[in-house]
């Protein structure tokens, strides 16, 4: 295990006191330390939102990008250098709303990318509008009479869409969450960790207490993550009992990178760049004779 201080940087954290993001930040650092991944071996990506500031608070390589687009940028980076661990941090609006099309498509591509979605079921940074994961009836400044939409279920969508690792964590239990993130990093392929994350300012429904009364751990309930239909059932559970843990995991599936011919000789970014030799150049010209 590496020293947790290795991941500290001098940047002052600007989240609200009590924000669920602190638990996620601690869990991420703890997972890296336990897996002995050095700061230069991991590449973080994030979009826009409170939680997307997380990479700024970790001493590691990072690219903080634009709203909704972290997933395709992360996939491009993974294809350019598959030696690096890639961890993508999105919010719920960021990852499932504006970035929804990218979410659907990364599921079926299976790059070796970890996707941590901080799901607080509300838009925090823009000060309290409803989110794709807000529950029906949720009252916000843009849904004064309550949301009339069904909440987006990232877990069923991910399993259905072809994801090979689907987990849910709770930021109020960072130790458990760190274990999930470690499993996600160790998983070969796309790994979603949806994190129930209380927003202490704008979400007075889905609070720490709300979750503490309801969450139970799948690994203590005899759930087999390899069982896809059982996973679909657990993924639909919501209300009095909310499962956390690894919901679904398929092992042995090839990653996207594994299947690309040009990557067999190693990462693209590490190739020496030089002009083509005379024979290759002539062959290319001859195609047009």
């Amino acid at each position: 295990m590496l020293d947790l201080k290795l991941y500290n940087n001098p940047v002052k954290v600007t989240w609200c006191p009590g924000c669920g993001d602190y638990g996620i930040l601690n869990a991420v650092k703890s997972a890296l330390a336990q897996l002995e991944i050095y700061p230069h071996e991991v590449l973080f990506f994030s979009g826009i939102g409170c939680g997307s500031k997380l990479p700024d608070y970790v001493n590691a390589i990072a690219f903080t990008t634009i709203h909704g687009r972290a997933l395709p940028i992360a996939m491009g980076a993974k294809l350019a250098n598959h030696d690096l661990h890639v961890i993508c941090i999105t919010g719920d609006g960021d990852g499932y709303g504006i970035g929804g099309n990218h979410f659907l498509n990364i599921l079926r591509r299976n790059p070796d990318v970890v996707h941590i979605a901080e799901n607080n079921m509300v838009y925090g940074l823009t000060k309290g509008q409803y989110a794709p994961t807000s529950q029906r009836g949720f009252v916000t400044s843009t849904t004064p009479e309550g949301s009339i939409e069904i909440a987006f279920n990232p877990l069923t969508t991910a399993i259905n869409g072809g994801a090979t690792f689907v987990a849910r964590g709770f930021s109020g239990d960072p130790k458990h969450l760190a274990k999930l993130i470690m499993a996600a990093i160790q998983h070969k392929g796309y790994a979603l960790v949806d994190v129930l994350q209380p927003c202490v300012i704008y979400n007075k429904i889905n609070t720490y207490d709300y979750y503490r009364e309801r969450v139970y751990k799948l690994e203590e309930a005899g759930h087999d993550p390899a069982d896809r239909s059982a996973a679909m059932q657990r993924a639909q559970e919501w209300g009095d009992r909310i499962p956390i843990g690894i919901v679904y995991q398929a092992t042995g599936e090839p990653t996207y990178e594994d299947q690309v011919a040009a990557l067999r000789a190693g990462p693209l970014a590490k190739r020496r760049l030089a002009p083509l030799g005379p024979e290759q150049a002539e062959a290319l010209r001859r195609e047009f004779f």
């Binding site: 040009a262 590490k270 002009p275 083509l276 010209r285 047009f288």
Partner: protein, 581 residues
């Protein structure tokens, strides 16, 4: 002379035309091809035309000497383009108004094409082969060149198919030559010198340039007329070590390229105006985070879906100013196929040196038109690869202080470290940031410093950009000024004007942005009568030149009907302006 094949999509107009072009090229002739097709998979009306000469050609011209029509619509729409004394070659069963065509002075050359295909080849589908054979017979181009191309192009379909097509073409050739060769004035003969020449279109040339420059990653979403770049790169990916990714949309396309570019692979994407519209926000990300990426914008007429399979130069000012805020970008607009190659190769160097997005602008006409060129125009093995201030692993090992990704330097360029070195743990950032790359989106002094650094790059980039090329005599009465694909039409218009005793020259811009003011302004100032020639409705480049130099174009020659500028169109518009003046 110009030969045009026209018919419905699916009748082999484009493949047959391209084959015939190869046959002419192998005879040492110089070609320019131009194609138009409708936005549908079957039916409609397409044409493929070949202008052929014993000297190099730069453009298509208006007017057809012989039209091979496979459908009544082809006669109706393109019959009027046939020059006086020219001919219409058609199947004897084709129904159209014969009198109307004959009244225009066009010769009618009916041929039993379907019959030959069925009786000699055993398959009606070989009708276009019969037509190509007949075409060669009428212009008395030696059959052996046609036969060689048939052998080459049908080889993978088996000997029976090759044999059938050869017989059909020979029979078409024999009958047409016997009946019509004597009454057709234009002939094509192979030249004595037949060096290997390349027959290549703009998208192919650009793709070859990208491969030569070491492009390692391409992501894209299919959109006419850019799709064939994605297809070309995909078909060459294995051989040239490239990852090619078709994405869910153009947003993902540019984002993946940005991710790959930031991680150290030379990366590009290609699209048309509609897709580029979707890419705009991420374009700004590349500007702010200082990520090298190459974006090809193959224009077609807008707005919105516009005319998907026609041509226009209507996106210039959009490309120059797309995305919120101010950041450095480079815009290049090659004018010819060989310039597509060089512009693509340069784009990757410029993107890495200046750590910014580079946009290469083409259009439908340039992307689909082929020209014959000497292989020496494509010096693939001699392309320079310059990655700019990219820190090597050894340089980073020796680094004394902390690594600053966005170090404020006199040039504005911050030496770049690729992700993965222990001494260069860093963050790239879309928010305003400090030299480390950490969020600093409040502080005014930091804003001035970092925005100043980025704009310093923009002011320095211009030193790497080139002056417009000049063609034609000095001290001309008329100077044509244009950018991008209008090069060929302008150049031939200049030749025609000088032949008519009008002293004319031209200024053609490939490097558009940052505007090479110091190099271009004196040339623009020197023009006595400045005529802006553009494929758009409002004279966008003329606006730009006026904004950058204060010089107003004296006249505009604009075309925005979806068709490319031609030498005749330029001359006719100049004449018209004289009449109305």
């Amino acid at each position: 002379m110009t030969l045009r094949l026209a018919g419905e999509a699916g009748q082999g107009v484009e493949s047959g035309g391209a084959g015939f072009a190869q046959a002419l090229s192998h005879g040492g002739l110089w070609l320019h091809t131009y194609t138009e097709y409708m936005s549908r998979i079957r039916g409609g009306l397409n044409f493929f035309q070949i202008r052929v000469s014993d000297h190099p050609l730069w453009s298509h011209t208006e007017g057809t000497n012989i039209l091979v029509a496979f459908s009544p619509e082809a006669v109706r729409d393109y019959g009027p383009h046939i020059v006086p004394g020219g001919a219409l070659l058609h199947d004897e069963g084709l129904k159209f108004d014969h009198d109307a065509v004959a009244r225009r002075g066009t010769q009618l050359f009916p041929m039993p094409l379907t019959k030959i295909a069925q009786e000699v080849g055993g398959n009606k589908i070989m009708m276009n082969t019969a037509g190509l054979g007949a075409l060669a017979g009428i212009i008395e181009y030696p059959f052996e060149f046609v036969a060689d191309v048939i052998k080459k192009n049908f080889k993978r379909k088996g000997d029976a198919v090759v044999e059938g097509n050869l017989k059909v073409a020979a029979e078409g050739y024999r009958i047409a030559q016997e009946r019509y060769a004597a009454s057709f004035d234009w002939k094509v003969s192979p030249l004595d010198a037949r060096p290997h020449r390349m027959l290549i279109n703009g998208n192919q040339a650009l793709s070859v340039g990208a491969i030569a420059a070491g492009c390692r990653f391409m992501s894209g979403y299919p959109m006419t007329p850019a799709s064939s770049i994605l297809e070309f790169m995909a078909s060459h990916a294995r051989k040239y070590d490239i990852v090619v990714k078709q994405t869910e949309d153009e947003i993902a396309a540019i984002c993946m390229a940005i991710g790959a570019g930031n991680a150290g692979a030379r990366a590009m994407t290609a699209t048309s105006g509609g897709g580029f519209s979707l890419m705009v926000e991420a374009l700004g990300l590349a500007g702010m985070a200082e990520v090298p990426v190459v974006i090809v914008e193959a224009q077609r007429p807008g707005p919105s879906t516009g005319m998907p399979t026609k041509t226009e130069q209507g996106d210039l000012l959009f490309a120059l100013f797309a995305s919120q805020g101010e950041f450095p970008r480079i815009v290049l607009a090659p004018g010819t196929q060989e310039e597509c190659f060089h512009a693509a190769a340069r784009a990757f160097n410029l993107a890495e040196k200046w750590q910014c997005p580079v946009i290469v602008m083409t259009d439908f006409y340039l992307t689909t038109s082929m020209r014959t060129l000497l292989p020496s125009e494509f010096p693939i093995e001699h392309v320079t690869i310059d990655r700019g201030e990219l820190l090597t692993s050894e340089q980073l090992d020796r680094l004394a202080g902390p690594y600053l990704r966005y170090k404020d330097t006199p040039s504005g360029i911050s030496p770049r470290a690729l992700p993965g070195h222990p001494k260069a743990v860093h963050q790239a950032c879309s928010d305003e940031h400090d030299e480390y790359g950490h969020f600093e989106d409040e502080d005014a002094a930091n804003r001035l410093k970092m925005a100043g650094k980025r704009m310093r790059k923009f002011r320095n980039i211009v030193e790497d950009l080139r002056a417009p090329t000049i063609y034609g005599p000095e001290r001309a009465e008329v100077t044509l000024m244009g950018w991008g694909s209008s090069y060929g039409a302008m150049r031939e218009a200049v030749d025609l004007l000088n032949a008519r005793g009008v002293r004319a020259n031209m200024l053609h811009f490939v490097d558009l942005w940052p505007f090479p003011e110091a190099k271009a302004a004196p040339l623009i100032e020197a023009a006595r009568q400045l005529v802006a020639v553009e494929g758009n409705q409002t004279g966008q480049f003329a606006h730009l030149v006026r904004a950058m130099t204060g010089r107003r174009a004296d006249r505009l020659v604009l075309r925005w009907d979806g068709r490319p500028l031609s030498p005749e169109y330029i001359l006719a518009t100049l004449e018209e302006a004289k009449v109305h003046a």
